[in-house]
């Protein structure tokens, strides 16, 4: 087939790379792209196949082999029976911890960011830019530097080791990024719009509700996805500010994998890892475009 194409192709005398060379390059290109795709997919493939195998098959078979006999036993154990230390309730309670932690934390920090961004971009008063810089700076600190005082503060507030306490930490340290996202979005709205609305007698909140909010769907999606990914995937706050019953799913996953009681069940570990990864993976597959926009906005525009 390739012979046929190259022999009947256009005379390539005048062109710099000859036709066969071009085809060879194209093949090389696709081979390289394919090899890299395998590199990125391999861990996911191994996780899925391992989670569907029995322990016996894992011990005797190859890492990359398809399961001979598919069993969902490991998934059942990971969801409702695996041990995180002394408790053996699986990932389920911690998965729900993460849900009831992430949903309010995402919403609160996003709305605060929208309000802040609206003020900074459109109602500039003296010192507003300084405040913005101060908030931006907060995005870059390594959280280790606030870990100890935050743990004490949560204790003083009486919410140490609780889900609301963890939520509070995520909201506080999420404000910088959410404000940045909305500010950069609202800055592109012409200021004359606000002036005209003011002339018509609309106030601060009215302008926000009727003009800015309807415009904001894309940036809301970007911010919600960014915050959700951050909070769902967080481990540092989770492990520092929670206790036995209130841990988020990442902490529970790590405990399951490192629990030393009994036989090492790799299939359960892998099933648990996939369960913990599913929500953010799902978001990525459904709304990848917005996910990437958040990533690049969070980094390039910093």
């Amino acid at each position: 087939m390739t012979d046929f194409i190259s022999s009947t192709g256009l005379p390539a005398a005048s062109r710099a790379p000859s036709r066969p060379a071009q085809i060879a390059l194209r093949w090389l290109l696709f081979t390289l792209l394919g090899v890299f795709a395998l590199f990125y997919l391999m861990p996911l493939f191994v996780m899925v196949t391992t989670s569907l195998k029995s322990l016996e098959e894992i011990r005797t078979g190859s890492l990359v082999a398809f399961p001979r006999e598919i069993t969902f036993e490991a998934w059942r154990t990971a969801w409702s029976g695996a041990c995180t230390g002394i408790q053996c309730e699986g990932l389920r309670p911690y998965f729900w911890n993460s849900v009831i932690l992430a949903v309010p934390a995402v919403l609160i920090s996003t709305f605060l960011g929208a309000a802040n961004g609206y003020v900074i971009a459109q109602w500039n008063f003296r010192g507003a830019n300084l405040i913005f810089s101060a908030m931006l700076f907060g995005c870059f600190i390594p959280f280790q530097v606030v870990l100890l005082p935050m743990a004490r503060m949560l204790g003083l507030m009486g919410i140490a080791g609780t889900i609301p306490g963890l939520m509070f930490a995520h909201v506080i340290y999420g404000i910088g990024f959410t404000t940045l996202f909305f500010r950069n979005f609202y800055v592109t709205v012409p200021g004359d719009l606000v002036k005209a609305a003011k002339v018509d007698g609309a106030g601060f909140f009215r302008i926000f509700w009727s003009i800015f909010l309807p415009l904001s769907l894309p940036i809301f999606v970007v911010t919600v996805i960014w915050q959700f990914t951050q909070i769902w995937n967080d481990f540092l706050f989770g492990v520092s500010f929670s206790q036995a019953g209130t841990q988020p799913v990442t902490v529970a996953l790590n405990n399951i994998v490192n629990s030393t009681t009994g036989v090492k069940e790799y299939n359960v570990d892998m099933a648990a890892a996939i369960i913990a990864a599913l929500p953010t993976l799902l978001v990525y597959v459904v709304a990848g475009k917005y996910f990437i926009r958040g990533l690049t906005a969070g980094s390039v525009k910093g």
């Binding site: 290109l29 390289l32 792209l33 890299f36 990125y40 861990p43 996911l44 190859s62 890492l63 605060l112 309000a115 802040n116 003020v119 900074i120 109602w123 507003a128 405040i131 101060a134 908030m135 931006l136 700076f137 907060g138 870059f140 600190i141 390594p142 959280f143 280790q144 530097v145 606030v146 870990l147 100890l148 005082p149 935050m150 506080i172 404000i175 910088g176 601060f204 995937n233 481990f235 540092l236 520092s240 990442t250 790590n254 994998v257 490192n258 790799y266 892998m270 890892a273 913990a276 990864a277 993976l281 990525y284 597959v285 996910f291 990437i292 990533l295 690049t296 980094s299 390039v300 910093g302």
Partner: protein, 290 residues
């Protein structure tokens, strides 16, 4: 009166967040800085004792390992992720029909928690049943790949997992950069018969300097904050062979009961971050004002 009140609304909306940032960012940094200058152990004490904690830090072989690891991990993680990301971006930029699918595949690790990444790679690099066993079963009986349990090599295992997770993100940054280069210039160069690799090396890449810088900043930031990946992949071990400043800080704060050490190590981490980020932020802000 109502007009005055009306004018204050924006300030009142911003005020709670501002106060929160003042307390929880700046106040807390101040607290940590103060405690790093005391003899605090299990509980914080507030009488100052100079740089005693920083001296202890410098004298600690464990901290020494953590800083060495940060340097090795940081250099390799940033270097390899940048090279791989750039290569992938250039390959994807050749008018590929399945570009969208490939981009999705290269980038999905970025959506995962580092705990998930660490768990997956820990299993893959597990010497008894993972890659090592697989290659041996193919007939290469002497093949050995036990980096995760080898104190000398474990940090390179962390590099592999880190690169796997972050390189797709660098690819996305670079690809956006490649696409933003003025198409007319490239067309003109092609008409002049300049070969493709020269167009990249002499025209496209130099115009992407700001993106190189952004990618570097983000990766450096990720490297310094790396905590979950090490915890999940090696637990900081074997021994403390893969400790990073972040895991050192955590160990001192929550399992060793040495708050003074935790605070001083956190301050050093912040100093490293700022040594990298502040010049960047400064130049960005200045560029916007000019």
């Amino acid at each position: 009166m109502t007009a005055w009140l009306e004018r204050q609304i924006p300030k009142m909306v911003l005020a709670p967040s501002f106060v929160a940032v003042l307390i929880f960012v700046y106040g807390f940094i101040g607290w940590t800085a103060w405690v790093s200058l005391t003899r605090s152990r299990l509980l914080p004490k507030y009488d100052l004792h100079g740089f005693i904690q920083y001296k202890r830090l410098l004298a600690s072989p464990r901290w020494d390992t953590a800083m060495d690891n940060l340097f090795v991990f940081g250099a390799l993680f940033i270097g390899i992720s940048m090279l791989l990301g750039l290569l992938l971006a250039i390959l994807l930029d050749q008018k590929i029909r399945v570009e969208g699918v490939l981009r999705t595949i290269y980038l999905y690790p970025m959506a995962l928690s580092m705990i998930v990444t660490g768990t997956a790679w820990k299993w893959i690099m597990n010497p008894g049943l993972g890659l090592e066993a697989m290659v041996r079963s193919w007939g290469f009986e002497s093949f050995s790949f036990a980096w995760v349990i080898d104190p000398k090599m474990a940090i390179y295992a962390v590099v592999i997992a880190g690169v796997w997770q972050a390189s797709g993100f660098v690819m996305a940054l670079f690809l956006a950069g490649l696409r933003s280069v003025d198409g007319e210039i490239i067309k003109a160069a092609q008409v002049d018969g300049i070969p493709g690799w020269r167009i990249y090396s002499a025209i496209i890449l130099p115009s992407m300097a700001p993106i190189f810088l952004s990618a570097f900043i983000v990766l450096a930031h990720l490297a310094i904050k790396s905590f979950d990946l090490v915890i999940a992949l090696t637990g900081g071990g074997p021994g403390y062979a893969t400790d990073l400043p972040a895991t050192y800080m955590y160990a001192m704060a929550f399992s060793r009961g040495d708050i003074g050490q935790a605070a001083s190590s956190a301050m050093v981490m912040m100093a490293v971050v700022f040594a990298i980020v502040v010049p960047y932020l400064y130049s960005e802000l200045r560029a916007k004002h000019d």
